[in-house]
């Protein structure tokens, strides 16, 4: 991915050399054409076309914002309800993510999602221990959310 970005920057600079114009807009135009060239030549480059990953990262960011707002709505509802109706507990969730980076990102996302908080991670990076605010009604839904998160992170990292 870094290699493709480097090529793209080099193409943008070649564009500026060809035009003999040295301003930011020329760089952006050259970068755009470099993107087109890289897209056409994606078969010959190692790895995936990198702009897909940039788009996936953008999607992940918006997912993140949405979950943050939903989490807050739920916390407010839990706190301001006249009778405290919560059943907290700790459950284990196996994860397929491997590298430290991905797991950090996943636990950051989980911590900011409705009703869940990462407590610990097993030594072999395979199980996340999560504290949940409402065990019975969210267990299923949470598993689904985790799947979407894991998928979104994998879209970005591999």
């Amino acid at each position: 991915m870094a290699f493709q970005i480097l090529i793209n920057v080099v193409i943008a600079f070649s564009w500026m050399f060809l035009k003999n114009q040295w301003a930011i807009p020329d760089f952006i135009i050259g970068y755009f054409w470099g993107l087109v060239i890289l897209f056409l030549m994606r078969r010959f480059l190692p790895g995936r076309f990198y702009f897909e990953r940039v788009l996936a990262a953008g999607r992940l960011f918006f997912l993140f914002l949405r979950e943050l707002v939903l989490a807050n709505v739920q916390v407010i509802r839990d706190i301001l309800r006249p009778k405290l109706k919560i059943e907290p507990g700790i459950f284990a969730m196996p994860t397929e993510l491997k590298s430290d980076w991905e797991i950090t990102l996943l636990s950051l996302l989980i911590t900011l999602t409705p009703g869940t908080l990462v407590m610990d991670i097993s030594d072999d990076n395979k199980i996340l221990y999560i504290h949940a605010m409402n065990i019975p009604d969210t267990n299923q839904a949470i598993a689904e959310i985790k799947n979407t998160f894991e998928k979104a992170i994998m879209e970005v990292t591999r």
Binding site: L80, I90, H131
Partner: protein, 130 residues
């Protein structure tokens, strides 16, 4: 145009402070450390975030000054607050702070515990030898 923006900014800041208030109520009402850290790590993050965004927009539209430091502050709070919540609840768990009346309390009890205890003993042994 400026009126609507002013009202919008006011709403954003008000929402942020209300969220902070709710966080405080949560800290008082909720029963144990872990549920409290739920409230603290989520609502407080979004509350501070909204207030900072309100300040950013205000100085942008009123003084025509875009403060990049506020953006940086937003990003830093965003990244660090959940980590702090995680570390506090983890430290609480490993220093035997009791949980509330629970339903499922899987594996932290069964798996991690003996290992860390052994590690603690090992560390203590190293300390006494050294």
């Amino acid at each position: 145009m400026t009126e609507t923006i002013n009202i919008f900014i006011g709403l954003v800041v008000l929402l942020g402070s209300l969220l902070s208030l709710v966080t405080t109520i949560g800290l008082i009402r909720l029963p144990d450390v872990y549920t409290r850290s739920h409230a603290a790590s989520k609502s407080a993050t979004l509350g501070v975030l909204l207030i900072l965004i309100g300040a950013l927009l205000y100085f942008w539209f009123a003084d025509n000054y875009f403060s990049a430091r506020l953006v940086l502050g937003i990003v830093f709070v965003f990244i660090t607050a959940p980590v702090a919540g995680h570390l506090i609840s983890r430290a609480a768990y490993y220093t035997n702070v009791p949980l509330w009346e629970k339903t499922v309390q899987d594996d932290l009890k069964t798996k991690e515990r003996p290992k860390t205890k052994k590690e603690v003993e090992k560390r203590q042994k190293v300390h006494t030898e050294a």
